[in-house]
């Protein structure tokens, strides 16, 4: 501590220790905030058709297009250390030989739900406005462009109300055959991304003050293959905010 340089080094060195200790305390403090997530996930429709599911697909194969209803209250996942949550829905179905081959799992929809404190980012999710209120919105839209939020108007982060939501991704099987499979499950998952600390995935069991997720599952069967009677409009997918990434094509 006898000259300026050593004082700078000592102060900065101890600052890093304090910063680490504070960060560790923050990371642990999230265990104190109670969580009670609930969700109701239901299948709206599922269709299996044959074609090229993506622009870059090299072969025609069977793919499934799954629509769903989701009504979730995940507000308790947002505590002071939550930056954003990554929310996703998977469809999983058992393999042909469940004793040796694990079930297949594929994501059909996902969204990044930022906390109110997170800085704006173009990739974050914009919650669709419920149909009843769209007419009122249109008159107000003339003034300035409203920035969409990741939750319905008047709610808070973690509230999701989706009615007949289109998937973001159609799903295919490695065997190119996905029709007529039974015992499939739609499941809601999340990943809490904190400002500092550990990533936390969906918990279905109660741990301490964190209650497990109530609901968020729906059983269904894949229907038989359909032909050209399915309209193209019926098979459209949702695009997320991430379509803006990179330079515009």
């Amino acid at each position: 501590m006898h000259n300026t340089l050593t004082r700078v080094q000592n102060v900065f060195g101890f600052f890093t220790s304090v910063a680490f200790a504070a960060a560790a305390a923050i990371a642990i403090s999230v265990l104190l905030s109670p969580q009670a997530p609930t969700a109701s996930l239901e299948l709206r429709s599922v269709q299996v058709v044959k074609g090229r599911p993506h622009y870059y697909s090299t072969k025609r194969e069977e793919y499934a297009h799954i629509k769903f209803d989701l009504d979730a209250d995940l507000t308790t996942l947002f505590n002071w250390n939550t930056k954003q949550i990554f929310l996703y829905i998977t469809a999983s179905y058992p393999s042909s030989d469940p004793s040796t081959i694990p079930p297949s799992e594929a994501v059909i929809w996902d969204a990044i739900i930022p906390s109110n404190y997170a800085p704006w980012h173009q990739n974050t999710y914009i919650h669709p406005t419920p149909k009843a209120t769209t007419k009122v919105k249109k008159t107000a839209k003339k003034g300035k462009k409203e920035i969409g939020k990741a939750y319905p108007a008047g709610a808070q982060p973690g509230i999701i109300k989706l009615d007949g939501q289109k998937p973001k991704y159609q799903i295919t099987d490695v065997s190119s055959k996905i029709a007529d499979r039974s015992n499939a499950t739609l499941t809601l998952h999340w990943n809490i991304q904190p400002w500092v600390g550990a990533l936390v995935w969906t918990n279905t069991k109660t741990v301490g003050r964190w209650q497990g997720l109530q609901g968020g599952e729906a059983k269904f069967n894949f229907p038989p293959l359909k032909g050209t009677e399915v309209k193209k409009d019926e098979l459209k997918t949702e695009t997320g905010g991430e379509r803006n990434r990179g330079s515009p094509a």
Binding site: H2, N3, R7, V8, N10, V11, A22
Partner: protein
């Protein structure tokens, strides 16, 4: 020129006395610990992590400001050098001053 360089080196090195060193060490640890604790407690009680960040950074900036420059109060107890032995009088000035090294009297 040499005098100017000496002065520049003194400012750059910013040396402080022994009691000042003890004081600056105490201040560094106390101020940073308090600002860290305060940052966490305020942020936790208001559930706003930005407050933790800014209080922590402000406390650190304050600590740097207080502890790094050689403020005058770190130099209130300088230890005086002994007069040089080659001075006129053959070290007569050393009379009456006892110097001990490891318990042995040297002069």
């Amino acid at each position: 020129m040499d005098a100017l360089l000496d002065e520049a080196r003194t400012i750059w090195e910013g040396e402080i006395d022994f009691k000042g060193q003890r004081l600056v060490e105490f201040l560094t640890y106390t101020l940073l610990t308090i600002s860290g604790l305060l940052a966490f407690l305020v942020g936790f009680s208001t559930q706003d992590i930005y407050r933790t960040l800014y209080i922590g950074l402000a406390g650190t900036a304050l600590t740097f400001l207080i502890c790094v420059p050689p403020w005058p109060f770190y130099n209130w107890n300088p230890l005086p050098w002994l007069p040089a032995k080659t001075m006129k009088g053959g070290g007569a000035q050393l009379q009456g001053i006892s110097i001990e090294v490891d318990g042995r009297k040297i002069s």
